[in-house]
């Protein structure tokens, strides 16, 4: 059974400097509150993986927490660039960042392989793409049956997965609804999993026998954090704050306004 801890304690017990951490959520259920707590606790030298780094990794990168990023699409969805990611890549500010770049198909397959206990993912991909020569973790194997060349990437096995979810029951089973993304795969691929939830309930009220549920023994730690995915969203609880995503473009474009915003809204904010 997972341990139930307040967010501050949960992050302190789960995240150490130098770890490989995946905070996932495909636009939906992004664990912003947990990411902010990592920033407040001043973690350093993290290797972060995430298909779409989104605002949460832009913030962690801009605050100097990140040594390396494994990703497949690094923009502000529908808005433009992630300016703090760009500043780190283009100018090494606040510190240089190492990139390992994939396609979405590769990362989705690599989480799937991690969850399935495979050493690598094999798929049909990367045809003619220059990503191939620039990322040594993209290789090709020959199908032993058909002779067809297939792309291969190492399975993603983070030290820690952090995801947000709608709710857990008292036993620690977790229900995920809506755009489920890679939430199940990343939790099963990781050595440990920290899940933040909107609420803990007596009965999960899973809407279908096929609902997406993380059974309690797959989760290490649960923290109850209502609103923990904001400004992304929790299907059935609150919507995505698209106006904030748009506003982030000007907040994050220059270093000083970014730092002022982080000072006021994250460093100076009481943990949830």
């Amino acid at each position: 059974m997972p341990r139930f801890l307040p967010l501050t304690t949960a992050v302190a017990a789960s995240v150490q400097d130098g770890m490989t951490v995946a905070m996932e959520g495909f636009t939906h259920l992004i664990p912003f509150a947990a990411g902010h707590e990592i920033i407040r606790q001043g973690r350093r030298d993290l290797t972060l993986m995430r298909m779409t780094p989104d605002l949460i990794y832009d913030q962690l990168i801009g605050m100097g927490c990140v040594r390396k990023l494994i990703f497949s699409w690094g923009g502000n969805p529908g808005v433009g660039s992630l300016h703090r990611l760009r500043d780190a890549v283009e100018h090494g500010w606040p510190r240089p960042i190492e990139l390992e770049e994939h396609s979405h198909a590769a990362m989705a397959n690599a989480y799937h392989a991690g969850a399935a206990g495979l050493p690598c993912a094999i798929f049909k991909g990367y045809y003619g793409s220059d990503l191939v020569g620039n990322n040594p973790n993209i290789r090709f194997v020959t199908c032993p049956f058909s002779g067809e060349p297939l792309a291969a990437v190492p399975a993603l096995r983070p030290d820690l997965a952090i995801v947000h979810a709608q709710r857990a029951d008292h036993e620690g089973n977790v229900l995920i609804e809506g755009i489920v993304g890679v939430q199940k795969e990343v939790v099963l691929a990781a050595r440990q999993a920290l899940v933040t939830v909107e609420e803990v309930v007596d009965d999960l009220s899973a809407p279908s026998p096929n609902s997406c549920i993380l059974p309690h023994w797959t989760v290490t730690t649960i923290a109850v954090v209502p609103g923990g995915a904001y400004p992304s969203y929790a299907h059935g609880y609150y919507g995505r704050d698209n106006a904030f995503y748009t506003a982030w473009d000007s907040i994050s474009r220059e270093r000083a306004p970014f730092q002022a915003w982080m000072e006021q809204h994250v460093l100076g904010a009481a943990p949830s």
Binding site: H28, S72, S81, S103
Partner: protein, 257 residues
Amino acid sequence: MSYTTQEMMAIAAARVLTNEDVCFVGIGAPSQACNLARLTHAPGITLIYESGTIGTKPDLLPLSIGDPELCTRARCTVSVPEMFQYWLQGGRISVGFLGGAQLDKFANINSSVVGSYARPKVRLPGGGGAPEIAAHCRQTYVVMAQSRRSFVDRVDFVTSFGYGEGGDHRERIGLRSLGPTLVITDLCMMRPDPTSRELSVVALHPGVTREQVQAHTGWAVRFAPDLTTTEPPTEHELIVLRDLLARTAQAHGSASA
């Protein structure tokens, strides 16, 4: 009714879609075109977003690829690994839409870097789903506003493979899909030559000249012998598109939480 070149581009892209198409939709211009098609002549079209939504019928355009609107208005929502494995790689998509920062005369697309990869002048968002969309959809359509900066002789970096260096390059690397069969811009429509696979202009949008297209293209652009003119937008197309964009702007302008 008067209209902008951006509206012409969205409407021209919508018109090539049919009720039978199963489209892998990207955010921005593709999402506009696909939903305009659905709200006008192709109500039966199936729209798939890479966040996992299948049979998506959004009332307004999503800002992100995974807005709540998509999931609540989809026939079903699958996981992202399933989306890329069964639906895209499995060959169940007829049309994929692509765009990018740069496109070259063989319809290769760069959405990764301007300058060198190791020390980029501009770090762009990257490929996301595009490298495999370019490979596995039966065909792809590119929707991009045209300029000398974006329509270049050779892309700095091939994120998504079009026709490579031309000719049978696609077939030689094992691709069975048709590739980028159509490029829709704010000025014209281009198709690859059947043999060389170099893009040539097949239709000019109303009022656009050959000289204008050349001035906005970074290579010596070819024109098809049977060059045609795109039909101007109808009043109905413009009204539906503008309503859709107005609903969208209103919804995204205010916090939804």
